[in-house]
């Protein structure tokens, strides 16, 4: 999931950002992967993830195709765990986002015990992730480093916009939408929670960290 590799921010900015995901290897261990992935999500749910999703069908926060006009005055910020778990219907990548290392360690311990046989990866600040792995009794097998952006970087947005928009590495969060919501939060037209939920609906893989987004919006208010 390169989707989560190149998130923008300093090491401190990732203190509440851990994405644990499971993926089968195509043609090798993808048979029976659906049940294992559902099990992965069920275990994740016990550890209270900030967000989770199935890269083929959607995440906890989803857009609706038949909204009632009253949503302009009152919109529920609910998370439908069952829809995500039952929605897995083909081998894909499933992910759960956590905002603290203790939950990650407990989750990884449970995954070890469940012995799913799928590849399990954690995306986050490398040192903190290695610490989590060791606390769970594991050494890393392979590691992938984000070396950042090169080329015409002047075409990218400002730091805060990038911190928020790169939380969907597939590019579903436009710079303009992030800027618009940041302005609305500053103007008091939306709360940080409402703004981060709005952004999360565009991330279909469920890797958008609403908790980190809330914190970033709140920092922008200070």
């Amino acid at each position: 999931m390169t989707n989560t590799l190149h998130r923008y921010g300093s090491g401190e900015s990732f203190k509440d950002d851990y994405i644990v995901f499971a993926i089968p290897a195509r043609g090798i261990n993808d048979k029976g992967a659906v049940e294992k992935e559902q099990r992965f999500l069920e275990i994740a749910r016990k550890h209270n993830p900030v967000n989770m999703g199935d890269a083929s069908h959607g995440a906890l926060f989803r857009p609706s195709k038949s909204l009632n006009p009253l949503v302009h005055w009152y919109r529920k910020l609910t998370r439908d765990f069952e829809a995500v778990i039952k929605g897995v219907s083909c081998p894909t990548t499933v992910a759960a986002v956590f905002d603290n290392p203790d939950a990650v360690v407990a989750f990884v311990r449970d995954l070890r015990a469940a012995d799913l046989g799928l590849s399990i990866n954690i995306s986050g600040a490398l040192e903190k992730v290695q610490e989590c792995a060791r606390r769970a009794g594991l050494e890393r097998h392979s590691v992938e480093y984000s070396l950042g952006f090169i080329g015409q970087t002047d075409r990218m947005a400002d730091r805060r916009t990038l911190e928020l928009s790169t939380m969907c590495g597939h590019g579903m969060l436009s710079f303009n939408l992030v800027r618009k919501l940041m302005e609305w939060v500053k103007q008091g037209r939306r709360t940080p929670e409402q703004a981060s939920t709005t952004l999360a609906r565009f991330c279909s893989c469920g890797v958008f960290n609403t908790r980190r987004a809330c914190r970033l919006f709140e920092e922008e208010l200070k």
Binding site: N29, Q130, Y145, L147, G151, L173, T198, S204
Partner: protein, 312 residues
């Protein structure tokens, strides 16, 4: 035809080449375009001008900035050359099914008093966004831009790569080897295949062998030279990844070449490198990267819990 087959599922009809040309308003005058007047402009994502109320919500949602209000008709319009068929507007926005005449009347009335209704920013009030059937080569845009589409060539959705995410099972990158993911167009800048080709040709020139299980490699007409198919070169996409691996001692030369070429491209390049760790979790790549002046805070860690069907 082989490549057309790869993306056949995305294209619900196979359209003869002559008809594809006729569908392009850029090539033929409007009166020759065989489409209803309200949809004449596009081959791809479109906005139904009968339904659009020009609320402008879709404008900020579009990652490519390809939607704008046409002042002539006061309706939103998609610039089909800039649109990458990512489906963010269609899939990501929530929809209401309000009557367009009713909404326009309300908006017009409020406008008289210099008031403006403040709708939810992720809602299209009249469900005016309509995806169109995509023909080759435009269908490639969606394959590389819509993360919910699975690449037939690799069986993986998104950008279609497994990288080291499954390295504990596939053993693709071994000890002493380095895997590279060179990603173009990210974040939210976009890229055309002709720019990706500049990089693949340069890399092929220094002896790089591209990862066969990668969607961009599948679109090469000559893998040895890094040449991409001519008919896709002008297609714009949100992002794509070129993958390959080398021995660890080649890292400085490869990164230097990537940096040199990236400076000449009109887009952004995101760079990732990976390796297999030793038993104690140590990575031989870290000192090499530090020596080259790269800082690395964030990354992806494979915990080694995967196993093949045989349990190995």
């Amino acid at each position: 035809m082989r490549f057309r087959g790869i993306y056949s599922e995305l294209s619900s009809t196979h359209i003869p080449k002559t008809q594809i040309l006729a569908w392009s308003p850029l090539l033929l005058p409007r009166k020759l375009c065989p489409r209803p007047a309200f949809l004449w402009f596009h081959c791809g994502m479109q906005i139904d001008t009968r339904k659009c109320v020009a609320c402008g919500n879709c404008i900020s949602v579009c990652p490519m900035g390809a939607i704008a209000i046409d002042p002539g008709v006061n309706r939103a319009r998609v610039n089909s050359d800039e649109c990458v068929e990512c489906y963010t507007c269609f899939r990501g926005m929530s929809m209401e099914r309000l009557n367009p005449t009713f909404v326009r009347t309300i908006r017009g009335f409020l406008k008289l008093f210099r008031l403006r209704f403040d709708p939810e920013p992720d809602v299209c009030p009249t469900s005016a966004i309509i995806p169109d059937e995509l023909a080759w080569p435009r269908v490639v845009r969606r394959a590389f831009s819509d993360p919910l589409v699975t690449h037939e060539s690799t069986g993986v959705h998104g950008r279609g790569t497994e990288e080291v995410k499954t390295n504990d099972v596939t053993r693709r990158v071994g000890i002493g080897e380095v895997g590279y993911v060179v990603e173009f167009g990210r974040p939210t800048v976009g890229v055309r295949f002709r720019d990706i080709e500049k990089m693949t040709r340069a890399l092929a020139g220094i002896g790089i062998e591209f990862e066969p299980k990668n969607p961009v490699t599948h679109l090469m007409s000559d893998v040895k030279t890094g040449k991409l198919r001519d008919d896709i070169l002008n297609e714009k996409i949100l992002s794509a990844i070129v993958e390959f691996k080398t021995r660890i001692e080649n890292v400085p030369a490869v990164l230097s070449k990537v940096d040199e070429v990236a400076k000449t491209l009109p887009t952004v390049v995101a760079l990732g490198v990976s390796t297999r760790c030793a038993e104690d979790g140590a990575s031989a790549l870290e000192p090499v990267l530090a020596e080259e002046g790269f800082s690395f805070v964030r990354g992806k860690t494979n915990l080694g819990l995967g196993r093949g069907a045989s349990g190995a």
